[in-house]
Amino acid sequence: MKLDSLIPAPLRKPAKPGSGNGVAKPAPSDLKTAPPERPSEGQQMLDRAKEAPADVLAWVDQRTAASGFLTGMLYRKVPKGTNWFYTLGSATLFAFIVQAVTGVFLAMFYVPSATEAYASISHINNEVFLGQFVHGMHKWGASVMVILIFLHMGRTFFFGAYKYPRELNWVIGVVLLILTMTMAFTGYLLPFDQRSFWASIVGININGTGPVVGPYLSDFLRAGPELGATTLARFYAIHMLLIPGALIALIGAHMYLVVKLGTTAPPWVRAQRPKVAASVSQLDAGANGGGNGRAR
């Protein structure tokens, strides 16, 4: 209740129907004769100070009208049976945020040059304060994100949540998966050690085995016939500029559709008959003595 006063009225959780607005208080018996209640000067100041945060939010809300959208999004109904498996998508989003944040800070020390990349990663790992920790978060977080995506995808598939009207969100999700794989592939080269060098060569060669366009795709990825200095710059640009932009845009679209269409109940939860229909049929069976056909 205390916390509620910090939230402007339009943003508060809507009360349940019939529960009243919490101000119902019996009127005093001497309503007509009693002097009006006036709070003291200090009390008024205090009350106004308490309202300040809500006032600020209300100021923003008056100018953006965001509260309608926010209440709709934050207090939307979820189906019966919603369980922990439904958090896998949010977990993936969290993994992405971790990657984005740690990536930004790694970029402060990393040098995308063929001759200096390895040294800069060694510098991050061995000398920068918490460098190995942040690098480790980015490195292991990448695997975590890929694993979470597949778990999230499995949840969606096995719960049948890809069906009408959510097919488009499945398609967007597949594009997000491909973009994440591209992130994983381009990020792998950046430390420029033996493992990343050879893994990238093998990966590019697998790309090249696609008929007709494969060889050109390989040249495009390498920026030439052999993996060279430009390849690293190219992978770096794809890894931290091109794909993240597309990822953020598509995550936005993905989440918009989740909010817009709502989530599904798990397949083991049966659809319930609407309550109104049940009471009418009882009415038919009982009070009307068999029903006259017009009650429905």
Partner: protein
């Protein structure tokens, strides 16, 4: 055509033009390396007397400049062998890049074969596939002799009959219809 329609079409056309003016140069910039062929590079790897015709000698040379040791590659070099029907005057340089996925193969003297550590590809003495996943014989490098010194030049690939073709990436077949399915890239050099 109404005045309103003329303005609509003109505005959309101008917008499209402005968009193309931004996107096309950017795309061209990104795909240009596909059509660019670098300078031919020749490197001296030793006097001609260093090489024999019945076994290989390893030479390490720079294939890609600007990335220090990562740009180096290894070739197995020997003279042409009369027994194998080759010209004894020529120098044969076989790349150690496996034709499967590009791992480094090793010449095993006792077996007289090239063996790849990654997925078990095996090549015979001249580099033809004996077994495993490789799709074509080992690549070769152009060679020439200048003032008694052997020089190694651009890479080229060979068909299963050892006919030279433009360099292909590992995993790509050569010869016959494969020449169309895995077309030669403009960034590679013509075969000898």
């Amino acid at each position: 055509m109404t005045r309103r329609r003329v303005f609509t079409v003109a505005a959309q056309g101008l917008g499209g033009l402005a968009g193309a003016a931004i996107v096309l140069p950017a795309v061209g910039f990104a795909v240009a390396p596909i059509f660019h062929r670098g300078k031919e590079r020749w490197e001296v790897v030793g006097p001609i007397d260093d090489f024999v015709d019945d076994t290989y000698r390893q030479v390490v040379f720079t294939e890609t400049e600007g990335i220090a040791d990562a740009g180096k590659t290894l070739a197995y070099v020997r003279k042409g062998s009369k027994e194998l029907g080759e010209d004894p005057g020529e120098i044969i340089a076989v790349s150690n890049r496996c034709a499967h996925l590009g791992c480094p193969v090793r010449f095993v003297e006792a077996a007289g074969n090239f063996i790849c550590p990654c997925h078990g590809g095996v090549y015979d003495f001249v580099g033809k596939v004996l077994g495993g996943p490789p799709v074509r014989p080992l690549d070769r490098f152009q060679t020439r002799i200048r003032r008694g010194q052997v020089e190694i030049g651009p890479r080229y690939s060979v068909t299963s009959q050892l006919e030279p073709v433009r360099a292909r990436d590992p995993g790509e077949f050569t010869g016959g219809v494969w020449e169309y399915l895995y077309p030669p890239r403009p960034s590679t050099f013509p075969p000898p």
